[in-house]
């Protein structure tokens, strides 16, 4: 018990310091961006040069709390975060959560669908090719997945659009419909999710194959084979059990990063997800929205790292002794 408590305490301390560091980095980078959100309050800057008088400007600045020195803003920001208050969007003039949640939902639908597709493709394939390592089948699958891994995901997305939306007209060319019906949402997520799945499956396949191979080389698999166990039994009882821990923790990490890797696919499809919101809030210096999105990106990666740690702690008792 003593060992695992020390493990959790030191890990928790590390992750909390990571959270603080990322909050500070995001805050400083965003608030110090040259430019001001007020430039865009009167509409598009290039169309209407909307000049605010000095008086109005000062009033607005103090309204949004931007007239205070940076360190005071920082305290307010952190205090708000601790109360789960993400602030009030300057550009959309609505609470950030109201703006953010629908877009985040769309992105989550996309990556969850895509992730499920990608694992259901790459998991069986990686077992087959690890089991029959060196065969022609393995060679072909590995070569294919390496090629897919190297193709940038936006290129895959463009290819998909050209083939399925432009030539075959099976999928819509724009990323969303006005109706907010769940079937519609899923329908518009399907194309990007498929592209995302293909793009991710190369990476997932490659690391799963590698962990299966290093497990297959161990003596106990050889022993199981020489006992005359059926292949199916060896794979299900021994191979999967032995290699599950690294695979699940790596999958958790991949899922954390997929919020980032889906940016390209979302952009090509004009999907109304978090990437769209990121680019809009960047363009209009909408500090609260921009900060929230960046924090979501960093927090997901950190949390998934933590989950990967916990999973490998639960599944693999060897980790308990060997940390730090």
């Amino acid at each position: 018990m003593g060992v695992s408590r020390r493990f959790f305490v030191s890990k928790a301390a590390f992750y909390i310091s990571l959270f603080i560091l990322s909050i500070t980095t995001v805050f400083l980078l965003v608030r110090m961006m040259p430019g001001s959100p007020l430039d865009y309050l009167g509409g598009e800057a290039e169309d209407v040069p909307y000049i605010l008088t000095e008086e109005v400007r000062e009033k607005l600045l103090s309204y949004y709390g931007l007239d205070k020195p940076l360190w005071e803003q920082y305290i307010v920001f952190v205090n708000n975060l601790l109360h789960l208050n993400f602030g009030y969007s300057i550009y959309f003039s609505e609470p950030v959560t109201r703006i953010l949640l629908p877009h985040l939902m769309r992105t989550l639908i996309l990556i969850t669908l895509g992730f499920l597709f990608s694992i259901s493709i790459s998991f069986p394939l990686s077992i087959i090719s690890a089991w029959r390592r060196g065969s022609t089948l393995d060679t072909i699958i590995t070569l294919l997945s390496m090629s897919i891994y190297s193709i940038p995901s936006f290129a895959l997305a463009i290819l998909f659009l050209i083939v399925f939306s432009v030539e075959l007209k099976l999928f819509p060319l724009i990323g969303f419909s006005a109706e907010e019906n769940i079937l519609d949402i899923l329908w518009y997520a399907l194309g990007p999710a498929m592209v995302f799945a293909v793009a991710e499956s190369g990476r997932a396949y490659y690391f799963m194959r590698n962990s299966f191979i290093s497990e297959l080389d161990k003596d106990y698999i050889l022993f199981a084979k020489s006992k005359g166990l059926k292949n199916k039994t060896i794979i299900l009882r021994h191979l999967l059990r032995g290699s599950l821990s690294p695979i699940i923790s790596k999958l958790a990490l991949l899922f954390g990063y997929s919020l980032l890797s889906c940016m390209f696919v979302e952009n090509v499809f004009n999907y109304p997800g978090i990437t769209w919101l990121l680019l809009i809030s960047y363009e209009y210096y909408d500090y609260p929205v921009l900060e929230s999105i960046l924090l979501i990106f960093m927090f997901t990666v950190i949390v998934m790292n933590a989950i990967a740690d916990i999973i490998s702690f639960i599944i693999d008792p060897r980790v308990r002794g060997g940390w730090m």
Partner: protein, 277 residues
């Protein structure tokens, strides 16, 4: 050809492609049919005067393609060099000086959670990303991965018997590091170098793809971005020459770096080896 015997057939194919792209990049002013700034009629289909047609503003696509190779190779090579150098140095220090290891590990952990692309978006508000800024920013984000990969190997080599003997006969720490540990990490460092080069080329293209690069940069990513902004290219077959070639070049280049790095990886870790293809 004997010097290349450490590469398998995959690696050799990759190397040939990369050398071809490097050749194009270096000789760009000589082999490109036009000056990169000269303008023609926009969206002209491929013909004998414009082998790959012209793009939305009237640049000759082949010329842009050739000059784009220059940007990609420069960014890939420079970023890989800088981040491998810093990463290797960090790994050596963290692996050989035990007291510094926990601090360095935590710094690496922080760098590994920074989302690269969103931060480049923010940074591009401070500085217009010309090639050199892109190289600096990508190296800033890239070195930690290299350090993380090489550090365990350094630790392992440093705890070997012969290093202890060297210490006993009075060898200095940096003598051991430079003469004995650095050469041992060399194969892994080369594999990381190629991998990081590929990542940098992809990241540079991604920055261009989001349209964040300096508008005067002639890169494949920017070309894709410009093309995608004109949805008219999908109504006719314009995309075949405006969008196709830069994507194809990018994919071929990335394929070759992946081929080389995976080939090197199977050489370092022979258990992963598939048949000798």
């Amino acid at each position: 050809m004997k010097a290349l015997s450490f590469l398998g057939i995959k690696g050799k194919i990759g190397l040939i492609i990369i050398l071809f792209v490097v050749f194009i990049g270096i000789t760009a002013p000589v082999i490109s049919p036009y000056d990169p700034t000269s303008l023609f009629e926009p969206f002209e289909p491929p013909s004998s005067t414009h082998l790959l047609g012209t793009d939305d503003v009237g640049h000759d696509v082949l010329t842009i393609l050739i000059y784009g190779a220059r940007v990609s190779i420069l960014v890939g090579f420079a970023t890989a060099t800088i981040s491998t150098f810093i990463g290797l140095l960090t790994a050596l220090i963290a692996g050989c000086y035990e007291g510094l290891d926990p601090i360095i590990s935590r710094i690496l952990d922080f760098f590994l959670v920074i989302p690269r692309i969103p931060f480049i978006v923010i940074i591009s508000a401070f500085l217009t990303p010309n090639i050199f800024i892109v190289i600096l920013v990508l190296s800033f984000f890239g070195w930690a991965k290299t350090a993380r990969v090489i550090k365990p190997l350094v630790k392992q080599v440093y705890s070997r018997e012969y290093v202890k003997r060297l210490k006993c006969i009075g060898a200095g720490n940096w003598y051991i590091i430079l003469r004995h540990i650095l050469p041992a990490t060399f194969p892994l460092a080369v594999a990381q170098f190629v991998l990081e080069g590929g990542h940098a080329i992809l990241a540079e293209a991604s920055i261009g793809f989001f349209g964040l690069e300096d508008p005067s940069t002639l890169s494949w990513g920017m070309e894709i971005n410009h093309a995608l902004q004109k949805s008219i290219i999908f109504l006719t077959n314009i995309w075949t020459w405006v969008l196709g070639p830069p994507i194809l070049m990018l994919t071929i280049t990335l394929l070759s770096t992946t081929f080389i790095s995976i080939d090197l990886e199977t050489r370092i870790n022979p258990r992963l080896k598939v048949r000798s293809w």
